[in-house]
Amino acid sequence: MTLHRITLRDGADLDGFRKAVRRLVHEELAPQHVVFDVEAAPDLFGGEAAGEASPISLPRSLSEMIGRVVCHRDPERYALLYQLVWRVLNGERELLDIATDPLVHRLELMARAVRRDLHKMHAFVRFRRIRDAELERFAAWFEPEHFILEAAAPFFVDRFRSLDWTILTPIGSAHWDRDKLTYGPPARREDAPAEDEFEDSWRGYYESVFNPARVNPVAMRAEMPKKYWRNMPEAVAIPGLIQTASQRVERMIEQEATMPAKRTPERALEAMWDQEPKTLEELNAIIAKAGPLVPGATQAVFGEGPAHADIAFVGEQPGDQEDLQGRPFVGPAGKLLTRALTEAGIDRSHTYLTNAVKHFKFEQRGHRRIHSKPTTGEVKHYRPWLMKELELVRPKLVVALGATALLALTGKATPITRSRGRAKFGAWEGYVTVHPSYLLRLPDEETKREAYAAFLADLRRIHDLALADPDTGELPLAAE
């Protein structure tokens, strides 16, 4: 039988190889009857490319290996790959699992060499700004070991999408104009800029992070082989760093054990620990500066009420009205709360009202902003602020309105029904009841009336509990 000759394009001709494999498999040509040639501008299979054979299905791991190995410089790569394909299609479907097979092992080593070259290209390309260019433009000269330019370029697109850049190599060039990636002919080193204004700083950085006490050039060369050095601006520093390392260490050791300078700036040290916000205004300024955790809110809505109120009510988060007005409990639920407070004999202006979460979170539906419940993580994000806030208000009784407030006050998610009534929130005396918005959501009038009555009863107890004994300052809590 005569040898069948396949001619492929110079470089990584994945497409040509794929087509060739289809044909060869179709015609049942065993590897020993096929030779692969490489040419700069092949005359596509001597004209026989016209009729394309139908695709063949290969295991995924094999396709991946082909994709890598075609980039390798070894002229035998196509022949080896075809041997592998042939064996997989002729009874050894699981051949790639046998990493110890000599052919698989050899191809795996080739694939690994290509992956490594790719990785090193991603790492070691150094862009230089093209001076005098009107827009910010960059170019780099790089010498890859294998035919990896096209495999490597998408990484740079993902990373430098907003920049205009060119990578020049001896096997071709890649250019990104912030819109399209195009490939061009091989280039020369002189085509790239010879310097860059940040290279001195970069070299300075590189020199400074080296620790002379741990000099280990073998380990360095294993990861950054010498062949890459000439295109890396920092590499010129290497010989000097190695040469002076032992000297520098000796000098440090000689200098060792100096007496510590007596530097105890008492005032500064004391001031350092005095960093906590001292007033609600200071705390609120910090919250305002941090901005909303979930974007959208108009403003942070802070707590409201006298600084040392007896009762602090903690709700969930500001709603639509609160967000616009910048005050807590002014929407429908807030109005209901105010009414209930009055009926229970509590003067709203004497209490402190706040929310677990300080920003409105919503979903936009048409013109309406629909409240959406904060997640556990979001509630906890605001929790340190709430704790500080209560520390500054120092109420006698802290009331959790609803499950979110309860979560914020205890750090744990617990259902309201099980904990309704008196509670302890850390050091604070507490009380758990429903959120007024719950009353608004109830479907029929009957349950609504009942729930409202229960809520009122809770508020009356809260009122009683918060009445401290004017002499001892103690709550009449033990009396129950």
Binding site: V209, Q255, A257, P260, R263, A271
Partner: protein, 409 residues
Amino acid sequence: MKELPVDEKLAKKLRILADAAKYDASCASSGAPKRKADPDGLGSTTGAGICHAYTPDGRCVSLLKILLTNYCLFDCAYCVNRRSSNVKRAKFSVDEVVTLTIEFYKRNYIEGLFLSSGIIRSPDYTMEQMLLVVKKLRRDHGFRGYVHLKSIPEASPWLIEEAGLWADRLSINLELPTEASLGRLAPEKDGASIEGAMAQMHERILESKQERRHFSPAGQSTQMIVGADDTTDADVLRTSAKLYGHYDMRRVYYSAFSPIPDSSSVLPLKPPPLMRENRLYQADWLLRYYGFDVDEIASGGEKGMLDLEVDPKLAWALKNRHLFPVDVNVAEREMLLRVPGLGARAVDKIVVARKHTTLRLEDVARLTSGLKRARPFLITADHHPQGRLDRLDLRETLVEKPEQLSLFA
């Protein structure tokens, strides 16, 4: 070469503040979710991280690792930046750090920023300045590269909450493995607040994963200095096991205390051998990926210290010879992982390949570079160590001649 217009002052600061940051071993840029730049933005993350250069100490340069300032009010004895040290000081402005990060990034020098700082004015003030840097990068420059923030445990808890929103990884250095050493060598630090901050970060990282929100998605890491006090390797590893278990640390870094310029007199005079650090890293891997526990690892050495001459797996195997030899063709994966010289990847390949074929010694040789160490402990289709395991000089035949090893291989 022609002089180019460089901001000399900035370059000088960079040298000081990079030098001051280099004692932090962590440089990893891994673990972030894959991201790509927006059409107007800059930066991506690949998941695995990239080392953009290596310095002659064999360490990887991945991030621009700098301090915002090396002025510090604290006085930690092991640190070059402690207030009583006589080093040169400098402070970056927020904009200077942003410029350096962006310009270095555009030239493909780095994967992103690792920002740390000495404590000036107050922990909160310092942390706020660091946050400003990250916010500017992310908001004003659409920067999607990697950001690692070294948080200050003494800062208010809400600042740690905020840090996690912007950074890919947070870390707090434990620095010393025991509370007692911390008290002696770092008087202003407090073990409880360090662990408190770690717990807070851990809790938030878990929640945000469930809620698919961004909070330090690449997790948290920490560092311990080895050799500045008399803690044994076993106790160091016990602390690590606790950190991995309680706070789900991605990495614990070990940094052999090394001579620093203008060193303090309360520190030991001699640095520990670098090999100790190397052995701790190997032991750490055994802990995380090979199913060993601390006591087993410690049993390979003497008096709580690891064997410096052989790696910890080999040390353990030499003292547990009765469990060997192991047959590559039939042994459980767990047992294969305990064979010296066989890495986890080689073991996985063995387990797959042996379903289809019977392995010989030359097959194993294709999968590992540690065959010399593995040989006496292995049975293959054509090999049995016979009496070699019982030989008294087995250890001697396996000790590698001292050569410098790569630390992060």
